[in-house]
Amino acid sequence: MGAEQIETKWIGKRIVRPDGVDKVTGRANFGADLRLPGMLEAKILRSPHAHARIKSIDTSKAEALPGVLSVVTAKDFPEVSGMADAGEAQVNFADLSRNVMAREKALYDGHAVAAVAATSASIATEALSLIEVEYEVLPHVIDVEEAMKPDAPLLHDDLFTKNVDPKPDKPSNVAQRLEFGAGDIDKGFGEADVIVERTFRTAATHQGYIEPHAAVAEWTEDGQSRIWCSSQGQFAVRDMTTTLLGIDHANLKVTPAEIGGGFGGKTTIYLEPVALLLSRKTGRPVRAVMSREEVFRGSGPTSGSVVRTKIGMRNSGEITAAELGLKYEAGAFPGSPAMAGCMTAFACYDIENAKVVGYDVVSNRAKCAAYRAPGAPMTAFAVESVLDELAEKIGVDPIDLRLKNAAKEGTRALYGAKFKQIGFEETLKAAKDHPHYSAPLGPNQGRAIACGFWFNIGGESTANVNVNMDGTVTVVSPNPDIGGSRASMVLMAAEVLGINPDRIRITIGDTASIGYSGLTGGSRVTFAVGMAVVDASKQVVTQLCERAAQIWEVDVEGVEWRDGAAHPASSNVGDFDPLSLEKIAAQSAKLGGTITGAAAINARGAGPGFATHICDVEVDKGTGRVDVVRYTAIQDAGRAIHPGYVEGQMQGGVAQGVGWALNEEYIFDDKGRLENPGFLDYRMPVTSDLPMIDTQIIEVPNPFHPYGVRGVGEVPIVPPLAAVASAVSQVVGKRMDQLPLSPPRVLDAIDG
């Protein structure tokens, strides 16, 4: 496969998604929609303390309440250990087990400490109030920099900072230190005409999916069990749940429900092992559903951050050196996206001398979970803001400044990769040519641009493609469809098979029906699972050609597949009428049996994604309120399989980024309790907050994908933080270096 765009018939068409009608009629079954006969309702008791030793838990009164069938606590969970990969992160099972159910200590407000199964939700709720937990409240720490201090309250006695020399002899809240670099930064800064150094802060933000976590679990007498739940990966749910409970993978079948948004937040487990344990103890199916408050208190946000960056530049606009230090909140257990934050920080630019240092820090907050391009938006906020300031200082157009330093084919990124074909410069040039960039601004309005990068991933992926006797085709995908991926899979299968997508149906397989596949995450599904679908479809084409060869009694090399039919490869083969897929399928029983393709690949070569965004804001100088009045997102998608859903990813990422920039934040009281665990005061953008979000898809094909696909889902959340903040900075005349840009903060900047 080369760099050229391939001519296609179906790819690029905006078909109606195969699961669409179910989703507009209310038929689609999400996590909380399943009801089984005899099903019990589970409720979880959560710690009201940010940090407390659990001295005892007395469940006897709760168990005595009529209608209560079982209560579980950490004592019911086995001790587990070990690590495993989970999408873009690593999972430590001892930590995961303790996050699912607090063991020695409750480590954050909202940490689960016990669970009840009862015949109704109201009885289960009442039973929670009868569980007596004796806590020894401990000093807590919320803020990342406070948590790093030597005298900070320690969350874990056995946590020693990794990667520091000499090995520390005292435990710390700093889980690890990361460092890498290139060249000589002292020399680089010495060559600079201008240097800007600033520290930026962002608040923890939640993924904000509208569907709360939900799971139904059923244990059977012979140990074979089942879970139905919404997640970003039924296989990940199976593997984590079985590991935590010490059961065989084959003894748990996880069926993916439709998923009501995840954005990374549903790549881990919370309720599943709890519901399954309760089912084991009661012999009844158990349903557990989080309330919105539980989602905010108990499930993962992304890290709040402190990022210091320093960039040196010649008056010509060439970056001579760059340095960045970040501190990320991991929540109660190690595992913030500090590494990804470090790796992505300068990935848009070709920088000779650079150094990046990162710290992963625990504090008394809910354990963070992946959130769309985990770790990247915060460092992009810092780097892009400083570049904006440098452009102003040296009097260069901010797009020209970036073009001067832009990563391109052959650039070795600071994190090690040498880029193949990438489309960063193309996004910058498109931004410069976009009418938005030169449109006049109104009073109190400001405009800025910002750029973003995300690696995208590949990984283990499977697909089955089955030809039915009437010539229709059924595809089995192993990955939950979180944003229209069924449509993309069908388009790719249709392209390979040469038949109308209407003839192809697709289902998402459970863990027993298809081979293991990685999470729906890392912007990998259309790329990697798409490759598996293409692979399986090609197997089908091979078989179809073989059958045609049998029918025509010629060598298989003499048959070629095009437009959904077998044709003689040349006139030398013979004079045969084309044999359609339909005709061959009808004879499949006679000619060797069912035609089916099954692919299992470990996809490599996910093309990195780049974006450039343009943002206009208007600031009310009397109140500090900010409105985003115009927004344009430009991104390299490699190849847009279904452009409607590519645009949708771009627009959705922008909306989340705008929320992060303007109003979203976790607010804690002085006891470390979350004060805004609801959509009223955790302020995500509503319809009237946003303008139309203009999109422009750039297509620089990824040479590693048969149709040139790059992941698109994550990049769009990377630029908006800086784009919004820099635009506000233009209006208020001061660099806005702390998010969110809530009205009080902006008014402070205006009034000095």
Binding site: R14, V16, R17, D19, G20, V21, K23, V24, T25, G26, R27, A28, N29, F30, A32, D33, R35, S122, Q207, G208, Y209, I210, E211, P212, E258, I259, G260, G261, G262, F263, V289, S291, R292, I482, G483, G484, H642, G644, Y645, E647, G648, Q649, Q651, G652, G653, V654, A655, Q656, G678, F679, L680, M684, P685, V686, T687, S688, D689, L690, M692, I693
Partner: protein, 158 residues
């Protein structure tokens, strides 16, 4: 505990149910009547996933008691399409890729229908403020607003 016996109309059909005083209309629709198309996203009236139309007004079914429904006319997402015909809003949502995960979609469709029932030609601003009580985290709202505009045009015969 004393349960209330309620007779009401859901999607044009007469329905009877028993409910506890504190059960919301949302609880009743989902748990007693099996109409799970109406979703629970927050239970505090902040997300609109549970939107239904009661006597012509769109409301959050999480903020109405099941007991209050006596004698009302309730419309849910399940009643929006006929056996062989999607509502123009449903059609436009599909054609314009206005949904990604689809969880907020029933609420948006019900709220948008209530808008178009009252105002066949809303401006973009009117649409945005009418739908401000429906949270979507996937789409950035752009394609939703466009679908409502185009469905309105289609329904006007424009």
């Amino acid at each position: 505990m004393t349960k209330q016996h309620i007779t009401t109309s859901v999607n044009g059909e007469s329905v009877e149910y028993l409910c506890e005083a504190q059960q919301t209309l949302l609880d009743v629709l989902r748990d007693e009547l099996g109409l799970t198309g109406t979703k629970e996203g927050c239970s505090t009236g902040d997300c609109g996933a549970c939107s239904v139309i009661v006597d012509g007004n769109v409301v959050c079914s999480c903020l109405m008691l099941g007991a209050e429904a006596e004698g009302r006319q309730i419309e849910t997402i399940e009643g929006m399409a006929t056996a062989d015909q999607l509502h123009p809003l449903q059609k436009q949502f599909l054609e314009q890729a206005s949904l990604q995960c689809g969880f907020c979609t029933p609420g948006f469709l019900v709220a948008a229908k209530a808008l178009l029932d009252k105002n066949p030609d809303p401006t973009e601003t009117e649409i945005r403020f009418w739908l401000a009580g429906n949270l979507c985290r996937c789409t950035g709202y752009d394609k939703i607003v466009r679908a409502v505009q185009d469905a309105a045009a289609e329904m006007r015969g424009a």
